[in-house]
Symmetry: C2
Subunit: 176 residues, 2 copies
């Protein structure tokens, strides 16, 4: 179609506030993962809704981590980690690994890989990878990870997060 | 719970093939965006399911782009771009902006910002931003973008993509 020039109503652009930016991404859906690591002080894990595939060959994924995250020291010190892709029904796991001041592993079934990293049970898949780069971006860090082992779980039904709610995707949510 | 050591069945890890890696991410849900840019040859746009928020203050997002993408030269030459967050119902727009050899803008309602970039109609939101970094990662590129203008649309119902299908998230898909 022929374009029209858009008239922007309101004040001229003055940048985007953190609140405005968060409001846009609040309505951007995402799969839910828990990133787990081994540290000298025990297992560490945190919920991440920013895991993306970057490159398939070589297989590299990325996620972002805020400076304020309690898991930041663990990620900065890690050579390897596991990305656990949560299944529909694991919303309690997602909530627990996003909570401060609790033993996040206490109520979750998990195991230890021969290489030492924790891996959660009941997920759609997990990927073990080697940390490649930690790129400082604003108040956060973009972490790239090269996959060295991937394991599909017993279910393909993933957990989805949007607008502070968890959702299930199935034939009922499917469009056309 | 107490961890158990996981017994990994099968051959020892030999890395992860591109096919295995793609299979994991095929089941990882994502919101759907169309990235649009102005070029000397006209408007360019492509569908992206890898848009994530990296930092809120300053407001920075990121997405990945494969080396093989026909839009790569446009992104490499761009100083600014628009991320259009698609709404449920815009699956035809998503499919069209992922198709090669067609005029992607031909059947879509769009406008031109005073700064020159195309912006699509009917989305949940759009963000205009300045390209900050293009980080080569494997066979792809991670692009970080600092938001300078954000505009929320008339709907909060986003489009979600998983396993080659589009989905709608609403009260029916919501989990407990």
């Amino acid at each position: 179609m022929e374009p029209t020039t858009l008239t922007l109503v309101g004040a001229p652009p003055q940048g985007v506030s953190a609140e405005e930016f968060k409001a846009v991404f609040r309505h951007h859906p995402a799969g839910v993962a828990v990133v787990t690591l081994r540290t000298p002080d025990g297992p560490v894990g945190f919920t991440a809704t920013s895991v993306i595939s970057v490159s398939a060959d070589p297989p590299i994924l990325a996620f972002s981590l805020a400076a304020s995250s309690s898991s930041r020291p663990a990620v900065e010190g890690a050579e390897s980690l596991v990305v656990n892709f949560l299944a529909a029904g694991q919303q309690d796991v997602a909530a627990r690994f996003a909570r401060r001041g609790v033993d996040r592993f206490a109520t979750t079934t998990w195991a230890t890989l021969p290489t030492g990293e924790p891996v959660l049970a009941g997920t759609t898949a997990w990927v073990r990878g080697l940390v490649e780069e930690r790129v400082p971006v604003g108040d956060s860090m973009l972490v790239t990870v090269r996959a060295v082992r991937a394991d599909r779980g017993g279910t393909d039904r993933p957990l989805t997060y949007v607008d502070r709610s968890y959702h299930r995707l199935d034939e009922h949510s499917r469009l056309g």
